[in-house]
């Protein structure tokens, strides 16, 4: 096995003109890990994720996703990852089934495979009979679940979740995280950004970014201990309050 880590970054940097969005960061993520990515808006989280998804080229530094060099072969990464963002994930005027068909097709799955995966995911997500419902009519919590399903329909090795539970009611949020954990247990790595600090507690490890740099990295327990705080939120506030 070439790498024990599914994501590695060394000195990863990305600049836009004079502005340095990501400033020489190092981190590793293991397979099956739930990795939390925290930080204020503008800290460089979105830029980093884009690099990891193969959407943006790093200015310098090394970065590998599932063994693939992000600089040399970004296109290859796309088949192995899934992406779900809070802003958009599904087509509102298509039904749930049609959305899954579409994403399945885009990832190159055969019709039979799509049907099989659809069944699996519906069962996993306890979604019931929503296949024919128009996405626009679903409550937000269900939409998030369907969005997650469409992001993992092709069984990627790593899935990127960008503020996936923003605004969702507490019960649906818990269900959603239960899912993530299930997937992680089966080997899918999850890379999550969130502003809900308690969700950070659910992660195996978290990193806190500020102004392009990683200012903290470790398990929630480690961070709480080293900063002498009771919750990840307090650690966060402590590190970022000016």
């Amino acid at each position: 096995m070439a790498d024990e880590f599914i994501v590695t970054a060394r000195g990863l940097t990305r600049t836009f003109g004079k502005f340095t969005a990501v400033d020489s960061i190092d981190f590793d993520v293991s397979e099956g890990e739930i990795f939390g990515f925290l930080g204020p808006n503008g800290a460089g989280k979105t830029t980093t994720i884009r690099i990891l998804c193969g959407l943006l080229r790093p200015t310098s530094g090394e970065c590998r996703v599932d063994g693939i060099d992000v600089r040399k072969k970004p296109e290859q990464i796309k088949q192995r990852i899934g992406y779900m963002s809070q802003k958009f994930s599904l087509y509102e005027d298509l039904t749930v089934g049609e959305n899954l068909q579409f994403f399945g097709g885009v990832y190159g799955l055969k019709d039979a495979e799509i049907t099989r995966r659809q069944k699996e995911l519906f069962h996993l997500l306890s979604l019931g009979e929503v296949e024919r419902q128009k996405t626009a009519e679903l409550p937000l919590g269900w939409k998030q679940c369907v969005a997650l399903a469409s992001a993992v329909i092709h069984q990627p090795k790593i899935v990127f979740l960008d503020e996936p539970t923003s605004g969702v009611d507490p019960i649906s949020r818990r269900n959603f995280w239960a899912l993530i954990h299930n997937m992680a247990a089966q080997g899918t790595t999850a890379f999550v950004t969130t502003h809900y600090m308690e969700e950070a507690e659910y992660c195996n490890r978290i990193s806190i970014m500020e102004a392009g740099r990683i200012i903290a990295l470790g398990t929630p327990g480690e961070l709480k201990k080293s900063f002498g705080k009771n919750s990840v939120e307090e650690v966060f506030v402590h590190l970022l309050i000016k």
Binding site: D93, L94, E98, V106, G108, K110
Partner: protein, 366 residues
Amino acid sequence: MLKPKIVVLAVKETKHILRDPRSLGLIFLLPVVMILLYGYAVNLDLKNIPVSVVDHDRSPLSRLIVEKMLNSGYFSITGQYGKVSEARRTIYSGRSFGIVVFPKGFATDAKRTRGTHVQFLLDGSDANTATIASNYFNAFISQLSRDPFYEAPLAVHSRVLYNPDLESVRFIVPGLAGVLLMLVCALMTSVAITREKEVGTLELVLTTPIRPYQVIIGKVLPYIVIAFLECLLIVGFAHLWFGVPVEGNLALLLFMTFGYLFCALSIGITISAAVNTQQVAMSLAMVTTMLPSVMLSGFIFPVASMPRPLQIISMCIPATYYLRIIRGIMLKGVGWAELWPNFAVLVGIGVFLIFIGMKKFSTRLS
């Protein structure tokens, strides 16, 4: 079977299109309506061109010719006048397009070998129609004169009034002004208001103690100024560069232009009150202002030749009235006395639409 990704995307896109009633309307309904509408309007065949008649001869022959003119369907007779100067007023006011003059002794001369002629005076401010009408009249008379009754062929002496060289620029540029001004005003205001609706900034303003009319007028005012400057620009350019004369009162033209701008703006406001996105606003503005203004206002194709339903639509288009104003003042030197009804109609349409637009705006917000 493995579906190619192109197909996957194409299938999805098709679903989006089919589920959006607006797109469907645009794709299927609109072109059909347009083809019907403009198929009839785009008509270089003349029918019912209004002409006045001055018959100095009053002979059975001249009367026969007039009757034949009527029956041909090409012309309609606005009236019979004793003097050319009287008949010219109908051209001046735009009521008729040409004057057919029979000289004294027409009938008697027709039987003589030296032949005789009919005079045809044309309104050159609509050079397009003038040219075609002239051809028609010539053909009509030449066909008549094949009758063995005439010893020698009948001649037609044509004279073009107001635009002697039938320069198309003279009749196009003023018409263009009408279309462009309508475009600027209606398009810009409808888009500007719906843009604020889309982005959400309008909403916040509405939570302050402000009345909807204050919002609308405040927003729209700069566009009146811009459109006015544009009018000056166009007229100035037309006059100085293209040599289009300004026979009449420039101040009157500018004053009446305000009426037109007011009307155009009210269209923009009504559209923005009815729709919520810029895209729809733009499409609606285009369809209801630009196209009819070009096709149905008499800009290029004569209204008189259109089927009755289209003529009625033409009566509802502001550009029709403005065209008379701007062509009248620039090319014929027409004054307030003849043109004020057009101005009144423009202001009337404007007031009516603003009233509707405001009402729609107020109810939406509550």
